[in-house]
Amino acid sequence: MNIARKELLYLALFAIAACAPLYLSGYEVTILGRFLAFSILALGISLIWGTGGILSLGQGLFFGLGGYALAMYLKLSAAGPGQLPDFMQWNGVTTLPWWWEPFRYPAVALAAVIIVPGAAALALAFLVFRRRVSGPYFAIITQALVLAAATLIISQQPFTGGFNGLTNFSDVFGFQLTDPHTQLALYFVTLAILAIAFYVLRYVVQSRFGRLLLAIRDGENRVRFLGYNPVPFKMIAFAIAGALAGISGALITLSIGDISPAMFGVVPSIEMVIWVAVGGRDSLLGAIVGTLLVNFGKDWISSAFPSLWLYVVGALFVVVVTVAPRGLVPLAQVGGLRIASLVRRRTRVEPAVE
């Protein structure tokens, strides 16, 4: 596929998605919007894993941080000025903890959605990559981290809402959350952010930075010998992925209307990796396609045969890794190329016959 045609394909796909409200019902649009919001996180995984070779089993942590940052604002806004969120009152908390205070301001909350997960990812990456800890070690540490975060949030019920998380929001920046118009607007906001993230990441991957990241994936020590320090590159990539996960978490919080530890724990975090693995880890489009496929599949299977989903997702892990480690989209591209070359060969043969 040449570049211009690829470009057209991407534009066409985004256009089809933008017209979704015309041919899908309101509920379907909401669901599609939710999965597109997940895709934003998947783009981040594609950047760090596909391009950078860093497998994180803890993207849920950054997802959760973004989600909670926005949810804290929504909670305070629902409680009204000077009031405490409902769950704090039930738990006998009388004054608002200091770290809740800044989230009264929407601008602070919005900034926190990006900055908090981004900074957390940057700090973690600094501490771990600095000591050249990578590969499986890093994966395990991120998994432990997301486990610890989930346990911590569950245990601090009076301040975090515990197992139930944060829910019962009323409005976001003055718009009622349950209003269909708000949900439709949310769909377009999600799609716009996804498109921006997609094109920015495409630029990043093709830039010098992206090529260095790729080189680090394939031979970190060689990159070192060439005079580069790989650590800042990995840190920045990981921070970008963290910030994208945070944005995704905030959008999901708005779409579903709550955020809880069950949405970002160990199991959801590793499921996020399978979205990208199915679609194709080193293709940004693959990350989006994989996320949509797996999530629609999950939606369908878990409503039709509830007990089957875990078998399916387990088998997906095994099959994708052994049979199609590069995922479906590159596979489809290779298939497309073969067909194209067959067609071309046929057209080339014809004039020779004449």
């Binding site: 395990i140 610890a148 892990f317």
Partner: protein
């Protein structure tokens, strides 16, 4: 009851937790050290051992059933490990991150299978009568401290397993091959060691030990489909702390993690101690990124 009794009790708890972690982490450390394979389904080997023990106690009664169960759990999990190694892991050699994902898939399937067969709530295995009591310590400063026999039993099992594995690695022909492959896979292969056979044996032994750990666990906690998940993350932290494939390092790391959690729980809650443990591990790798017992090597691209 005074302070020192509480502290001593917690310390003892810590050591018994360390014993379980050691059993769970031994197999991981061995196969990770030797094959650079992370087996995310290792926790499910624990679970499988637990359920096998449960079935045995149903078949043969509490006392003998429990003992038979331990044997069955070991060999059952070892057989499953051998199957996994030969059908799945062998294909993914040299791709550690992919192995991690594939074995996670296996773990999900096993969990769901356990849920379908035994139900989601979990089953209770009553410990055999000879493990029901506890030892009361009197006459010293620690009067009032009572040590449950099951905890002692767990420590004994862990000690026997550790001793057995050490003997196997240090004193047998297979152990010699394992050490050779661990030191230099290519050279061992060139000299005629059957490295695939060694991989298979070590992996299978590791999963077998996990199965045994699961059987032992039934005496203190019910078996649930997700029982392995609760231990596996800590077992991984033990492996990270301990260093690659070193028995002594794994032992030291298990004791550190066990005692750390137990002492942290005197001061703070369970969940906070988890967070502290992780902070501790991250600080620790700042100083020793290759773990306690890192082997010195000039090779650059070690995992």
């Amino acid at each position: 009851m005074n302070e020192s009794v509480l502290v001593a009790g917690q310390l003892f708890n810590g050591i018994s937790v360390a014993s379980i972690l050691l059993l769970a982490a031994l197999g991981l450390a061995l196969s990770f050290g030797l094959m650079r394979v992370i087996n995310m389904a290792h926790g499910e080997m624990l679970m499988m051992g637990g359920y096998l023990t449960y079935v045995c106690t149903l078949l043969f009664g509490k006392s003998t059933g429990f003992l038979i169960g331990m044997v069955v759990a070991f060999f059952g999990a070892a057989a499953f490990g051998a199957l996994m190694e030969s059908t799945l892991i062998r294909k993914l050699y040299g791709r550690p991150l992919d192995t991690l994902l594939a074995t996670w898939g296996v773990s999900l399937i096993l969990q769901q299978a356990a849920r379908s067969i035994f139900g989601p709530i979990g089953v209770e295995v009553t410990a055999p009568p000879w493990l029901a009591g506890s030892i009361a310590i009197g006459g010293t400063a620690l009067t009032g401290l009572s040590i449950p026999l099951v905890r002692v039993f767990i420590i004994v099992v862990a000690a026997i397993v550790l001793g057995g594995v050490t003997l196997l690695i240090m004193r047998t022909r297979l152990g010699m091959l394992v050490r050779a492959v661990h030191q230099d896979r290519g050279m061992a292969d060139a000299l005629g060691a059957d490295t695939r056979w060694v991989d298979l044996c070590v992996f299978s032994l590791g999963t077998g030990i996990a199965g045994l750990a699961g059987a032992t666990l039934t005496s203190i906690a019910p078996v649930t489909p997700t029982v392995g998940q609760g231990y596996i993350v800590y077992a991984f932290l033990v492996v990270i702390l301990g260093g690659l494939g070193s028995l002594a390092g794994t032992l030291a790391a298990a004791v550190i993690v066990g005692l750390f959690s137990a002492t942290a729980q005197i001061v703070t809650s369970q969940s906070f101690s988890d967070v502290l443990l992780l902070v501790f591990v991250i600080i620790f790798i700042q100083f020793r990124p290759r773990g306690i017992a890192s082997s010195r090597s000039r090779a650059l691209d070690e995992a």
